[in-house]
């Protein structure tokens, strides 16, 4: 039997922390003076008390080692419980959201997807805008910890390729988990502060800068305005491109910058491949637009670069209507969203390194089929790729594609048109943010989607953020019998 109490203890603590994190929005609301602060006060009390009670109830399990199976349960449980509580302010607050919309917004926040059901953001109380930013920031932090500590030992999606760079067994991890999380948190906070300061220096209002920094470094993409990033100046857009890029490279490399070591970042095979892929996508779309006769200037280049990095990193800030660029750039952007950034970052989607492994494995097997007598072992970054890693990566890729297909069908079944159904599935599974089609509001809000579609997307965002496997494992019978 799986003992749920150690899991309950940690989730209880995290829910309590979530309650404490409702205090800053409360203070902001208090300062704004729109009488909106009681929403966060009541939500905070409710959330903190419930979390504390659960933690207390499971307290006798404190300090017990968490097994791998409990690790899965903990990960999924966290991304279900926290959004559920995080949704409360959206239901009680000025958004007056129904349960499905509130949960959608909270899940979109915690999974750093950034799809929203709210239009008219500019008029919302500042507390709610900050709350959306905090959710994404927290979700980004959470996923980096999961990716660094848990996924490699869980053998999920070929993450064991990075095992040597992290830790071999759960036994070795747990004692250092706190230390690593602290170092990570410090890096994340420094990156966030650097982002806030840059945005302020370049002319953003301090509150707006804070929220956008929270959603930039988490590759979340929530904004304080319906105009999203199209309303900001050119220097701010370039700064945002930089921070979206930094947020989607491995945080273990970013950590070293603090001690003046830039080489590990610059020479990381993932970072190099990622930068190259970004450059290629920008060049491709830029060239297409030039061929189609769009004016060749800095403005056009910047919008292309912004959107490519926004989608590649999985941030998803809006910057103009990219569907106006024509079908080819849109298809490239959709493909870019299905690739995504580097593993060990706040970025999402299938990730660059998995494509590298796929291509290496495909080439190796083609060579084997063509000349069966040669022994071929695919290598990446100077290391042989173990069979185990290849299988896990192919498994994950296959799951992503099949899930994308099934979710497109499911969304179409709710009555969504073709474009909305396919890009809705794409944005949910790959945690990108924007969806395309006529049912998508001018501000990018998905409020017109039917409730059933919203529930499907909520599940899709959860699936995608936890790299599918972590959720799907819970649906195997042996997991519970184990």
């Amino acid at each position: 039997m799986l003992d749920p109490r150690p899991v309950g203890y940690v989730i209880g603590l995290l829910v309590a922390v979530l309650g404490l994190l409702m205090v800053p929005p409360m203070l902001v609301d208090l300062a704004e003076g729109r009488e909106h602060w009681p929403v966060f006060f009541e939500s905070a009390v409710l959330t903190f008390l419930t979390g504390s009670l659960v933690a207390l109830a499971c307290q006798n399990s404190r300090g017990r080692e968490i097994t791998i199976r409990q690790g899965f349960l903990l990960t999924v449980g966290t991304w279900v419980a926290l959004p559920a509580f995080a949704a409360i302010p959206f239901m009680m607050g000025a958004t007056q959201a129904r349960f499905v919309d509130a949960l959608f917004e909270a899940m979109s926040g915690m999974t750093t997807t950034g799809a929203t059901v709210f239009a008219g953001l500019d008029d919302l109380p500042k507390g709610l805008l900050l709350w959306r930013g905090i959710l994404q920031w927290l979700g980004g932090l959470g996923i980096v910890i999961v990716a660094m500590l848990f996924l490699p030992i869980m053998r999920v999606g070929g993450m064991q390729f990075f095992r040597s760079e992290s830790f071999d067994t759960l036994g070795k991890v747990m004692p250092r988990a706190i230390d690593i999380s602290k170092a990570l948190l410090a890096t994340y906070i420094v990156l966030t502060l650097a982002c806030v300061l840059t945005y302020i220096v370049l002319g953003m209002d301090p509150f707006v800068a804070t929220v956008h920094a929270l959603t930039s470094v988490s590759t979340g993409g929530f904004s304080t305005s319906d105009a999203s990033f199209s309303g900001f100046s050119a220097p701010l857009q370039y700064a945002c491109i930089l921070f979206m890029f930094l947020a989607s490279v491995p945080f273990v490399r970013l950590m070293l910058i603090g001690s003046g070591k830039f080489r590990p970042l610059l020479f990381d095979f993932q970072v190099q491949a990622y930068a190259l892929a970004i450059a290629a996508a920008i060049f491709l779309i830029f060239a297409m637009r030039v061929i189609m006769g769009d004016p060749l200037d800095e403005d056009m280049f910047r919008h292309v670069a912004f959107n490519v990095v926004s989608i590649f990193s999985g941030t998803g800030y809006g910057d103009g209507d990219v569907t106006l660029w024509g079908a080819a750039p849109l298809v490239v952007l959709l493909a870019v969203g299905a690739i995504g950034g580097c593993t060990g970052s706040t970025g999402c989607s299938i990730k660059v390194f998995r494509y590298l492994i796929l291509f290496k494995a495909l080439a190796a097997q083609l060579r084997l089929i063509g000349s069966p007598n040669r022994i071929v072992s695919p290598r990446l970054a100077g290391r042989p790729i173990e069979q185990d890693v290849i299988e896990s990566v192919m498994l994950m890729f296959t799951m992503f594609i099949l899930t994308l297909g099934l979710m497109s069908v499911a969304l179409a079944l709710t009555g969504l048109p073709f474009m909305e159904a396919t890009t809705g599935a794409w944005t949910a599974i790959f945690n990108v943010g924007p969806a395309f089609g006529e049912l998508v509001g001018d501000s990018g809000a998905l409020s017109a989607f039917p409730d059933s579609a919203k529930y499907i997307m909520i599940f899709g965002m959860l699936l995608g953020r936890l790299e599918l496997v972590v959720v799907y494992v819970l649906f195997t019978s042996t997991f519970w019998r184990g």
Copy 2:
């Protein structure tokens, strides 16, 4: 070094045979009296002579065993050389096609895709209509031979799962290849004749019945009329459903029906899964249309069933505008096209058994991740699935998806709108036939597509029909060195 002469010998012979096959259209044209017969006369002479000369030039290699590598070259060479010659009548004849259109039509024929660039079929000389049917019939025959004799020993796409049912090594195959091909040919001819007779009995004109039989049993989908199958009666449509189904089940099973053995067909795991999947898709789309308020009657059921089987089998006969049914049925039909029929048939696409293996492998690895101490070995049809098979299947699935993505991008780059680019890539890669969008003519003709898009689709049809791997292998450097 790879000796190309044994390959050249066989391809030369096949081209000569293709020349002989231009005689029936010539006779039909002669009988019709529209002075169109010289087109086929000249084409036949040119094709027969060229093929014979090539065969003669390579004659000293006759009887030499063909190696696996030569097998790849032979397969790809056949599907490049034959369409090139088969295109001649389209250039010289009443269609007055430019090279790209003629090659498109011929490749679409030989790969049994069935996408056409010609509108106004009803007015074409009968010889050309018959020629299109012959090309699909020949392509269907060719692919079954390749699938039964070559693919299992080539370790392509998990076909080695069926090795025990076929033959272990090339050495064992070659002596029996002629016998097997003969038995296969007999079955194929009987199936075709049964189809012709059924269509005639149910009221089709004998010539129209012949062409449609040729394109039914090959799951090709070319028609003699712009109306395709929407112009035929209900009994004819049901008959067509039956023959499209039979053409997409394993021919080794069909062969046994001749000796009165129905059980191997009925109890084949592929056939059962395939039939189940068809029933599910029909039920799903039927239910959707009922919910959307379409009249619930035999007519509606029949059109749903016809289109599902037409796309599932990869035949692609038109029967009304399915895009009018709404987004959900369209997405289901697109998914259905990405599944396809049974291996060892004339059907195309990824194929049902590969999905079965994928699901089994995914479930097994999920169980392994959830409870690492259990030993799990996936099984299918009572047999363990070897690791080798799983890898090949995942490889092929990954290749299909990546190729589909790249081809969508490439088609969008030619200027095709989103729907045309994605469904164009889909129809080419999976050899289905129809594409959707405003640039597709009322009759389904793709004549308005830019030339660059047509060339990309020509390559896509070749790739898809030869299960990608067979073509991609030729692009590895070791293949040519080895």
